[in-house]
């Protein structure tokens, strides 16, 4: 990582994270690294490191975090928050950070695609006649889509 210039840091970032639902605990971190030790993603890809992400967030490295690829590598297994001695819900903190990135349109394309599917079908998979006929052959009830509700909720 390149040298950190203190003048470029954004001290408000940690407060923005803490204001998101689930982001409240971030300021309690005392950097023990239990989260990183418990993280199955860190074990296979060192780009993703929970403790490092928290330190970056607390320092206010907003741009480096929001425009990074690594924040999207969290598998949301909740392993980190189960072991945190400070009760930081780090999985939820990661969702808060990803939400802030998404608000600035820094999102992997697959995720925006899922949003469009929900607006169009109310589900990740379209229910066609083919699907319902297959279900009926196995004695299972037909399924209906409710795209109007999902479209209304998601605006």
């Amino acid at each position: 990582m390149s040298r950190i210039n203190l003048n470029d840091l954004d001290p408000s970032f940690k407060h923005r994270v803490a204001e998101q639902p689930g982001g409240q605990g971030i300021k309690a971190c005392f950097a023990c690294k239990a989260c990183t030790a418990a993280c199955p993603i860190t074990a296979v890809d060192a780009r993703y490191d929970p403790r490092k992400i928290i330190r970056m967030a607390l320092l206010g490295m907003t741009e480096e975090i929001l425009h990074s690829d690594f924040i999207w590598l969290c598998s949301s297994c909740y392993g980190c928050q189960e072991v945190c001695p400070q009760n930081v819900s780090f999985t939820e903190v990661m969702f808060a950070i990803k939400n802030l990135a998404a608000a600035e349109a820094c999102v992997p394309p697959g995720l925006t695609g899922q949003r469009l599917l929900l607006k169009a079908h109310g589900r990740l998979y379209e229910i066609s006649d083919f699907e319902n006929e297959k279900r009926e052959k196995m004695g299972l009830p037909r399924i209906k889509e409710h795209p109007e509700d999902y479209d209304a909720l998601l605006g």
Binding site: Q20, P21, G22, P40, I41, V44, D45, W72, L73, C74, S75, S76, C77, Y78, G79, Q81, E82, S89, T91, F95, A96, K98, N99, A102, A103, V107, P108, G110, L111, T112, Q114, R115, L118, G122, R123, L124, Y125, I127, E131, K134, R135, M138, G139, L140, P141, I143, K144, E145, H146, D149, Y150, A152, L153, L154
Partner: protein, 291 residues
Amino acid sequence: MEALLYLGCTVPVRNLNYEVSARLTAERLGITFRDHEDFGCCGYPLKSLDVRDTLAIAARNLAIAEREGLEICALCNACAGTLAEAAHVLDHHPELKEEVNLRLAPLGLKYEGPVRVRHYMRVLWEEVGVEAIQRAVTRPLNGVLVAPHYGCHYLKPSELTKGFDSPDVPKTLSGLIAATGAQVADYSSLKECCGGGVLGVSEDVANALAAIKLADVAGTGAHALVLVCPFCNVMYEGQQKKIAKAIGLDRKVPVVYYPQVLGLALGLSSEELGFKLNRVKPSELLNIVEG
């Protein structure tokens, strides 16, 4: 007991073997599942984009259940986790509940809460119980060895699962397997994440995670890996061929759903339980049970 069966997105399209075996085993054990045609996605896929959208979508499903006066029973770990978490958050944060209800109002829905949400395994464990399952078994699965896989959202966050199972020393799925007469394989990566949560972002990272357990379970000689979540299934069954090629694994790991195993022990046939839809065939297991 009676509950609304919550299918989610993946199970009713891609995992009909899970759905059909869950329905048949529930019926045999005195659980009445009711369907509701208004249910849709639980909201989990949107959580990375906007937690508030996830809460609103989850609350829509919770409000439908509340109107029916019934609890929700889900087959997918992510659906069960997301809906239970949303109920927990809304029940403890009146300001978020108010915000969500403003969004639900145009749909003619309102969430007051609480609404109970449980995974089918939790319903089996808590409402039926291991002893009653043992008594209902007509064909004990003697000689069958299987490896349980719980999945992350089955056990965590422990704030939601306390009183049911422990993320450190999980025991419920093993107990439910043992109730069928099958043996439970012991292996070191029992609590490993399947990687499904990052498949859409990095297939390499996701496969690297799933590979750990597949290699481990192959080494135990188990006749199958037993799952209770369609996301985990995408990784261990759907991605298995690619993973095996990448790591040079020459032994196939058959993948089954727990209700399929339970159904065999309750005397149902592999045909009724949708085994023809299992893509990595548990041939050895079925030979032992059905001859």
